[in-house]
């Protein structure tokens, strides 16, 4: 039964990490366009983040 002493905290910590991940994804807008995200994943050539791309393009212009 002593194993419970670390098993319960371990289970909870893992759960909290998952929850934290979900909330982070939500806040950073990753769940806003579920259909588009799938298309973006299979697209090649361009960087995924449009923001980063734009900034670099601006710098080289």
């Amino acid at each position: 039964m002593t194993s419970l002493a670390w098993l319960i905290p371990a289970a909870l910590t893992l759960g909290l990490v998952g929850l934290g991940g979900f909330l982070w994804a939500l806040r950073s807008g990753q769940l806003e366009d579920l259909e588009g995200a799938g298309w973006r994943a299979i697209e090649d050539g361009e960087p995924a983040s449009t923001n980063a791309n734009e900034e670099s393009a601006d710098r080289h212009a």
């Binding site: 289970a11 759960g15 909330l23 366009d33 588009g36 298309w39 697209e43």
Partner: protein, 744 residues
């Protein structure tokens, strides 16, 4: 402009770009044609190549693009028309989305619900983990200290989770109670709070009746239902806004020095001078300052024959300019008697609809008091049987926990989400939350003619009687004009495979017609007055042709009936719906449309208030009427009908008044909507029956004190899942229009 385009930005400029976040402006464009990954790339690249656009992100789910503009120097920053033009270049139509206050508010609600849903899900999973151990431990060798430890850990997770995730329910219940009303959230909140409080008490005492798992699972399930409901609603409203923003017009404003600029129609103010090209939609109410033309006012009055206007005439927003160019002076909309009257009529009509009480609220009004009485009865009965107050309270609370209306609260939203997404995939946008419920009760359908039963296009009445040589001659004149009648003639000629020769030197006299002088012989095509035809000849003809010394020939036009109007009317009538046609157009035209679509009850030349009267008449006979209309003259009737629909081509007032908007040429959407609405109503009632059956089994058990936490958790989750699964069937189920009871 050229220079700034070529000049490379210096490093300094770039630095200021990074700092000056306050100069960034976000614009949302609706781009309905974004459907795939390639579209995303094309659209984003096109926008990002515009100078001054710092970011563009397409959203496939919403069919929108968010563009961040950088306002660093005034002359180089692009504006919405530039963005729209850039997208047009790559083949996409776009328009700025202007979000209503309601949409922003419900966006806020969804973004508030989802994190709560995450927290509730996390808590439910972890507490369930502990509870399952406790339940299986009861049958084996778990000792009490370990059980108590597990209860404490559950409490530690459940209390903050419920306090955070349950807030939407607590808040809604509190505001209902404040208003001396009962809604479904009252028994929900009571159940959750009592379950939590009793579990805490039992945990402290080291007891067995701990319901943390049931309470948090309940919150989790309810939050799933509620966020799905809310996000569906946001999607529907977004789709409706996309439609309206694409219809929003831009106006060419002429300033005093003669220069022109393009402004969105909503930015127009009284006194501005607006130039309107041939075939353009008029962006605002106003008076004609100069020019002559004819105006197609079918959206306003239902009348299909254009009205001739010249300087001083009033024109309405939304009407279509004919062949001439006009300059109008914008006037205040309210000044206008027709619009003001329609506004008044609508206000009165909407009040009569406001009394509808939603299905779920009706259920709550019966259910909430009933469970509270049951709880009290249980308490009283156990007290009377001498069990002591502690046991009696425990059993009474168990009743309230088990009756916590999880399935009942999911019964309607789950069905509505399924129904709305089914309709949305078929091009019908249900806007009003209770609209679908009202549509399920409809027993009569009233159609408008112009734009609803018919499409906004005219065809030449050509029974092959028109001489082919005559048609060829007329068509070669008509081919030079953009007037709808002229174009109809050209189409008719092409349909008969008549070769249309282009002729040079055809003159168009706006408001009158076309003139062509060939070897001293003049040919005229236009109004009766223009060719000099008497009123006695062929009164229904709207376009005349006259060659120098021949007698004038009249041409008749009718508007095209939607391809499936006849089927739709038949399907409705077979199911027992009474079908009527109410139009503002001339009786002859209405009679023709009625005959073509097999409608026997029709009235023509109706004013908006007469349409409204007729709807009121039907209501007083006990009919529940679905009004289908698109024009401004239908708006009051749309607001007054028990439910209402309008095509996506309708004027914005009508779209706003309608419960649902359908896209495309097919009228069959009306039947589909009615089918889904009927099925949704049946399924909501089925779900109520499931929820009641669940209560009928478990409430007696709870009253007898037989419900353990395990039973409670199982029963409540199962009933919620069954109800949701039942609702999901609606997405793919084959539906038939069920017969309705007829009054007559």
């Amino acid at each position: 402009m050229e220079a700034t385009l070529i000049a490379p930005p210096t490093l300094k400029e770039n630095a200021s770009l990074q700092d000056a976040t306050k100069d960034l402006e976000t614009v949302t464009l609706s781009v309905p044609e974004i459907v795939c990954g390639n579209c995303i790339r094309t659209v984003e690249t096109a926008l990002r190549n515009i100078r001054g656009v710092s970011a563009a992100r397409a959203n496939l789910a919403l069919r929108r693009v968010t563009v961040t503009l950088c306002r660093r120097n005034d002359n180089a920053s692009p504006d919405v028309p530039d963005l729209v033009a850039a997208l047009k270049n790559v083949g996409y139509t776009a328009a700025e989305v202007v979000e209503g206050a309601e949409t922003t508010a419900s966006h806020g609600r969804t973004s508030e619900l989802i994190p709560r849903l995450g927290v509730a899900g996390f808590a439910a999973a972890n507490i369930m983990l502990l509870s399952v151990s406790v339940w299986s431990g009861e049958a084996s060798d778990m000792d009490n200290s370990v059980r108590d430890l597990f209860h404490w850990v559950s409490a530690l997770i459940a209390l903050p989770a419920i306090a955070y995730a349950g807030q939407p329910f607590f808040r809604s219940a509190f505001s209902a109670l404040q208003a001396h009303r009962l809604n479904m959230d009252v028994p929900i909140s009571l159940g959750i709070l009592l379950a939590t409080a009793m579990s805490l008490f039992q945990t402290i005492r080291g007891g067995e009746q701990v319901y943390f798992d049931a309470a948090i699972t309940l919150v989790f399930f309810l939050l799933i239902g509620r966020s799905l409901d809310e996000s569906m609603r946001v999607r529907a409203r977004g789709a409706a806004e996309n439609l309206l923003s694409l219809r929003a017009m831009s106006a060419t404003v002429v300033s005093e020095d003669g220069s022109v600029r393009s402004l969105p129609a909503r930015a127009l103010s009284p006194g501005m001078r607006v130039a309107i090209a041939a075939g353009e939609r008029i962006p605002a109410d106003g008076t004609v300052a100069s020019g002559r033309s004819e105006i197609d006012e079918s959206l306003i009055t239902g009348e299909t024959v254009p009205r001739y206007v010249a300087a001083g005439a009033h024109v309405h927003a939304g009407t279509v300019n004919g062949s001439g160019t006009l300059h109008i002076l914008v006037t205040i909309a309210d000044e206008n008697t027709l619009l003001a009257e329609i506004g008044r009529l609508m206000l009165a009509a909407e009040q009569s609809r406001g009394r509808y009480v939603r299905l779920a609220d009706r259920a709550a009004q019966i259910y909430a008091p009933a469970v509270h009485v049951l709880g009290l009865l249980t308490f009283a009965a156990w007290m009377l049987s001498g069990s002591g107050w502690e046991l009696s309270v425990t059993h009474a609370i168990a009743v309230l926990i088990i009756t916590c209306p999880c399935a009942l609260a999911l019964a309607v939203p789950a069905v509505q989400v399924a129904a709305m997404s089914r309709l949305l995939s078929r091009g019908v946008i249900v806007k009003a939350a209770d609209g679908l419920e009202r549509m399920g009760e409809i027993d009569s359908v009233v159609f408008d003619k112009t734009g609803t039963l018919t499409l906004e296009e005219v065809v030449l009445v050509d029974d092959q009687n028109i001489d082919a040589r005559l048609l060829a001659r007329v068509a070669s004149l008509a081919v030079t004009s953009r007037h709808p009648y002229a174009q109809a003639i050209v189409r008719a000629a092409r349909d008969r495979a008549i070769v249309v020769d282009a002729v040079e030197g055809v003159q168009e006299i706006p408001g009158f017609g076309l003139s062509y002088i060939d070897e001293g012989r003049e040919q005229r095509l236009g109004s009766a007055q223009w060719v000099g035809a008497g009123a006695d000849q062929n009164a229904e003809a709207s376009l005349w042709y006259k060659s120098t010394d021949e007698t004038p020939v009249g041409f008749r036009f009718i508007d095209i009936i939607r391809p499936d109007a006849r089927e739709t009317v038949e399907a409705l009538r077979d199911a027992g719906y009474s079908v009527e046609l109410l139009s503002g157009d001339r009786p002859q035209a209405v009679a023709r449309a009625a005959a073509a679509s097999l409608i026997t009850d029709w009235q023509g030349a109706l004013s908006p208030s007469e349409k409204l009267e007729r709807i009121g008449e039907l209501r007083s006979k006990g009919h529940k009427t679905l009004m289908v209309g698109d024009g401004l003259n239908d708006a009051p009737a749309l607001a007054a009908g028990y439910a209402s629909m309008s095509p996506a081509s309708a004027v914005d007032i009508s779209q706003a008044a309608a419960d649902a908007v359908f896209q495309g040429d097919r009228l069959g959407s009306v039947v589909e909507t009615l089918k889904v609405a009927q099925a949704a109503r049946r399924m909501a009632l089925q779900n109520f029956a499931i929820a009641i059956a669940y209560n009928a089994i478990f409430v007696p058990m709870a009253m007898l004190g037989q419900v353990t936490p395990l039973v409670a958790a199982l029963a409540m989750s199962t009933s919620s899942i069954v109800v949701t699964a039942n609702a999901i069937r609606l997405r793919t189920k084959k539906l038939r229009l069920k017969p309705v009871r007829r009054y007559e």
